[in-house]
């Protein structure tokens, strides 16, 4: 039996490079961690976050939580339900509108359909700009343009989604199997024929599945559009918070949660169905 010290001495002679971890790597990693922690602390300090404020605020939070129980509606439940339906309508119409705009944009933005670099590049940059601005900012702008109400919310969702969906659609078109397109083209089809006969059946399920996914996400964002006056349940939510009616707030949140969950479930189910149903003809083409 050898002692630990003997063993270390022996191995440090035979395999010194293995015994001691590479100091450059070791200290590099430690320095990175220290830098990260310092950056975090400095950022917190710069933003004025202090543990003291956190703890004093925590007691207020506890008061809110206690006043949330039991949730009440004070006779407004019908208005809440109507606002919730309006929220769903905003999300639905916003998604439909975005999808309809994104179909032509998706084909225009695809390199294999429109070979013009200028159109392709320009369109993508415009979409980048649209996408870089949050839905809520668009909602605020549309409230200025078309006035308070759900219409502003629909336009905001439609615009922001177009920025993302058109890009996804364009990528789907570019990824569409080229052989099928060549088949139609060799049969004498025009560019439009290729788009309609070869690409469309392949990309349609992708379009549909993505639009459904966006409907799901939009339901979540539509719940807060009312905060800036763009319609839906968010208006009541913001209003009840403003007047500190916490039990009403709890009631509204309890309305929103199952609705969002139900839409999630429905969308997932439809997505599975859509992909299953449209896969086969696309493949057979």
């Amino acid at each position: 039996m050898t002692t630990a010290a003997d063993r270390i001495a022996r191995v440090s002679r035979t395999y010194p490079a293995l015994l001691y971890p590479d100091p450059r790597k070791l200290w590099g990693r430690r320095a990175a961690w220290v830098a990260f922690v310092l950056a975090f602390l400095w950022a917190s300090y710069h933003l004025g976050l202090s543990p003291m404020r956190f703890w004093t605020g925590f007691t207020d939070l506890w008061i809110i939580a206690r006043q949330m129980v039991p949730p009440t509606h004070n006779g407004f439940w019908l208005d809440y339900l109507a606002a919730l339906l309006e929220t769903l309508a905003i999300a639905f119409l916003g998604t439909i509108l975005a999808s309809l705009i994104s179909i032509p944009l998706g084909f225009l933005g695809a390199r294999n359909v429109v070979p013009s670099f200028a159109i392709h590049f320009g369109l993508r940059r415009v979409l980048d700009v649209v996408r870089g601005v949050d839905t809520l900012i668009w909602a605020l702008i549309f409230v200025s343009v078309v006035g308070l109400g759900p219409f502003a919310g629909i336009l905001a969702i439609a615009l922001n989604d177009t920025g993302v969906l058109a890009k996804i659609y364009a990528e789907a078109v570019e990824n569409a199997d080229r052989k099928a397109g060549e088949g139609v083209r060799s049969a004498g089809g025009s560019g439009a024929d290729v788009a309609r006969l070869a690409i469309w059946p392949q990309v349609f399920p992708v379009f549909l599945s993505n639009s459904l996914y966006f409907f799901e996400a939009n339901t979540r964002s539509a719940t807060i559009l009312g905060v800036v006056g763009a319609g839906g349940i968010g208006f009541f939510l913001a209003d009840r918070i403003r007047v500190n009616a916490w039990s009403d707030v709890a009631f509204i949140i309890l309305l929103i949660l199952p609705t969002v969950a139900a839409i999630d479930y429905l969308s997932r189910w439809l997505r599975k169905k859509a992909i299953g149903r449209h896969d086969a003809p696309g493949a057979r083409m």
Binding site: F40, A43, H46, L47, G48, L49, R53, F54, G57, F58, D60, L61, I64, E86, L88, A89, I90, F92, I96, D128, G132, V133, D134, L136, I137, L140, I141, F142, S144, V145, V146, G149, P150, F151, G153, L155, V184, S186, A187, G188, G189, D193, L197, R220, S221, T223, I224, V227, V228, G231, L237, A238, I241, I253, L257, V260, R277, P281, R284, M285
Partner: protein, 295 residues
């Protein structure tokens, strides 16, 4: 389809292809019509609920156009720099606010990731200590994920006062919910078989996770974290609408007061900021994932 080219065969082939397609899809057509019918009904009902009318579109779209054009600054080639300078008259302050916005996203992402990381193990079916832990962690993450950030922000502004603290906490909680769930799904892809070597060597539960699970899931965790950071920068740009810090408050002010030039100036700076963050984050992600591949 690539047969010999005889005079004018193409039209025939196209019709044959068309006919075949029609055959294949005839039985599908009824279903498609039904689908379209349901869609039309839903659009009509939603249109009624959403107070949409053609009139609104016809009026609204030109008005949006003129709104946008009004936000654009007058720039002439002779006085280019002076014009730009006047446009960005508060540029320094705006950049400072945008910097705060990115910092809010950074601090909130960090807090959310750490909390989501630790919750992702009890929330993974294969690693949870028991059904109770699993259900508790799952339900908690679900709640944090479903409540919109802005709602958290409004509640926190009441509790913690105006300022970045409320925004950071709101985004951190939401991030914890989203990433905790994503992480737990990644954890569930780890097979029990690969962990047996660590368990059989005498590791305790947390050591099994540290030595067996973490090395395998870390690249995916980092990738999702950086993506979330990009999203959080966007979120941080609007939490100021409810007074929770960042550029949002200033942006809301200039939009509501119709200070057109400032709207375009701030939005331009915001878009540049978001694009820069995306580029940097992508670079880091690629470097980490490539390094992982090479090692």
């Amino acid at each position: 389809m690539t047969g010999p080219v005889t005079p004018k065969p193409s039209a025939d082939i196209v019709t044959i292809v068309e006919a075949q397609r029609r055959d294949l899809q005839r039985d599908k057509r009824r279903q498609t019509l039904l689908f379209l019918g349901v869609l039309v009904v839903l659009v009509a009902v939603s249109g009624h609920l959403g107070e949409v009318s053609w009139q609104k579109f016809v009026n609204g779209i030109p008005r949006f156009g003129s709104y946008i054009s009004r936000t654009l600054p007058p720039v002439s080639p002779e006085t280019l720099w002076a014009d730009l300078g006047r446009w960005m008259w508060a540029g320094g302050r705006w950049v400072g606010l945008l910097f705060d916005t990115v910092l809010i996203a950074f601090v909130a992402t960090t807090l959310g990731v750490v909390a989501g990381f630790f919750l992702s193990f009890p929330a993974a079916r294969n690693l949870a200590g028991g059904v109770v832990h699993y259900q508790l962690a799952r339900r908690f993450l679900e709640l944090m994920r479903t409540v919109p950030e802005l709602v958290f922000a409004m509640l926190f502004v009441f509790a913690f006062g105006l300022g970045a603290l409320a925004g950071v906490l709101a985004i951190a909680l939401h991030t914890m919910g989203v990433l905790g769930k994503l992480f737990s799904e990644i954890n569930e892809t780890i097979s029990d078989k690969s962990l047996e070597g660590v368990v059989a060597a005498g590791a305790s539960r947390d050591q099994v996770i540290r030595l067996g699970v973490v090395p395998q899931v870390l690249p995916a965790f980092i990738s999702y974290t950086l993506l979330r950071f990009e999203i959080n920068v966007r979120s941080a740009s609007v939490i100021g609408f409810v007074g929770a810090g960042g550029i949002g408050q200033e942006l809301m002010f200039v939009i509501n007061q119709f200070i057109y030039r400032d709207i375009s100036a701030i939005l331009l700076l915001l878009i540049i900021t978001v694009a820069l963050v995306d580029i940097v984050s992508e670079k880091i992600r690629h470097r980490i994932l490539d390094g992982e591949q090479r090692r």
